[in-house]
Symmetry: C2
Subunit: 329 residues, 2 copies
């Protein structure tokens, strides 16, 4: 491995000079710059990030905490979009990102997680799909030991931002369209997980609509499970003339249930996953741009992290961004 010292010797300059041209510092004459560059080239020198990190202390990695949907594997698509969005943006911003599945942290206490992260030089966290029930992670964020960004969860503090789509509006919009299309009045709403943040915002959306249009609204929790949604429709589908679901996967379950009991009800979904193209049915849904959301999240940690270095930025404690793209059939 070629070191900076060898480059310096080869070019006939001091180590620090090499370091300066490497890091684009001012106060280096064009001439020596050339020499150094040439030496770097000829020796195939590659700077060692580890050493640079240790020395400069400018090093920061961020943990990307995602879900592996073991129960509902079919929608790995969402996680994958998150991952690729985040990784690409991270590369662009030149920050290191390590992806971590919830399952890897399962059973660890907060302290253990903290230590694990610290030993890995992790200073930032991006957490996807946090739920109110995740005690440990709430403590973690509350401690403010890490600069964190919660995606789709309204967790904000001095060191925590949040990035999300306006779930309430999205749910309102798509359901409204469905209601108008079918001139429906009795709505069966299949919500997500109790205590899930998105779940509640979407509920607000549908409730507002129901009130506005004076609809008859029945609500059940489907836990984002296709099967649960199916069961709910089997039991209550007949009583409604429109079924609105808080996720596409549940919408699929709902549709199949309709077929099974031989009724037709328009179904409305949420997410816009590609899987929908394969079930051979059409429905109204909200297409979310998970890729963009993840990108925004990375930008946000980046800001939080650099704020630390004294760049003095006014933290926007509540970053609400609208990333739902459109309503599709």
């Amino acid at each position: 491995m070629v070191t900076i010292k060898e480059v310096a010797d080869y070019a006939g300059v001091a180590i620090s000079t090499v370091s300066k041209v490497l890091n684009d510092y001012p106060n280096v004459s064009e001439n020596t710059k050339k020499k150094v560059r040439q030496a770097i080239d000829e020796l195939h020198y590659v700077p060692n990030t580890i050493a640079a990190a240790l020395s400069s202390k400018q090093f920061a990695r961020v943990a990307l905490i995602v879900n592996l949907n073991t129960q509902t594997q079919a929608i790995d698509e969402i996680t994958m979009q998150y991952l690729s969005g985040a990784l690409n943006k991270a590369r662009e911003k030149n920050i290191e990102v390590v992806t971590i599945f919830y399952s890897m942290l399962e059973g660890m206490t907060m302290d253990e997680i903290v230590r694990y992260f610290q030993s890995q030089s992790i200073f930032g966290i991006i957490i996807f799909g946090l739920s109110k029930d995740d005690k440990v992670f709430h403590e973690l964020l509350a401690k403010e030991l890490f600069k964190s960004v919660a995606v789709d969860a309204p967790f904000v503090s001095k060191s925590t931002s949040s990035v999300w789509v306006d779930n309430k509006k999205a749910q309102y919009d798509v359901a409204k369209k469905a209601v108008l299309d079918g001139n429906s009045h009795r709505i069966l709403y299949i919500a997500g997980k109790k205590n899930g943040y998105v779940t509640e915002y979407r509920l607000e959306g549908i409730r507002e609509l129901a009130q506005e249009k004076e609809l008859d609204l029945q609500i059940f929790y489907g836990e984002f499970s296709e099967l649960k949604a199916r069961e709910i429709v089997l039991e209550h589908g007949k009583e409604a003339d429109l079924i609105v679901c808080a996720s596409d996967l549940m919408a699929i379950g709902a549709m199949n249930a309709c077929i099974d009991i031989d009724i037709f009800r328009p179904v409305c979904g949420f997410d816009g996953i590609t899987l929908m193209g394969y079930v051979g049915k059409q429905m109204l849904t909200v297409r979310q741009d998970f890729y963009a959301v993840a990108q925004a999240a990375v930008e946000e940690v980046f800001l939080l992290l650099s704020g630390e270095k004294g760049r003095s930025r006014i933290l926007e404690h509540k970053l609400v961004k609208l990333y739902y793209q459109d309503i599709i059939c």
Copy 2:
């Protein structure tokens, strides 16, 4: 941040002593061990991996090069399985893994990739789904600058291993079952990507079967595309009495084509992705265990990497493992 020095002072010992108990060195009295452990505990000391790495040079990360199936998003499932298998095993083996998408390396020359990896302290590579056409990566492996493991590609050398399922046998087995079930004689085989390694092995499997059973075999390349498969069936489906596809996604395309031209042909797939559960049709397929394959790949780089440290291991240049689980309907 608590450093090793503070711990040493606190415990009233030397830095090196602390280091020794941290790394389980011999020749430290139980008594001082206790003292040190206690100090570590009370100070909440967390060793700094970066510094340790720099100092010991034992540091190695491996790049996980995967595909983001932008065209066929529905089968992110496979990539996801790869990722989780690899990440989990990596954690277990205590090696660092960074995931990299092909797309991030696109357009880079081999030299640029080498530099990028080296600057990141990457010494190992696991590459999924290499194809014969990936010139750059072939050069990369050939240079033997990194310890690498190719998944589903028969690339072996002093520093390269390969992990894969026996595609030939799997294709043979599943197709045989399909042939016997339907007493079929005229097979339409939709292969994968020309020049893909798996594609060719699967072709060998079907060819062997055709010869053995004296079947009439027609072959087309579907490029792993649902659409292509569909077109092929539209054009040639009628001439066959069994359609065998080299992937589930193509099988879906084939099935839909059959419906469109109103013929019935048994279709046989490959992979066993969950998506199949959603298309509302049943078929024979091979279920692969991508998770296990990825785990095996990580174990393999681990061995390669530690061989480097002089543990003197005899490299098995060809590691063929059978990870296809079963044939399902």
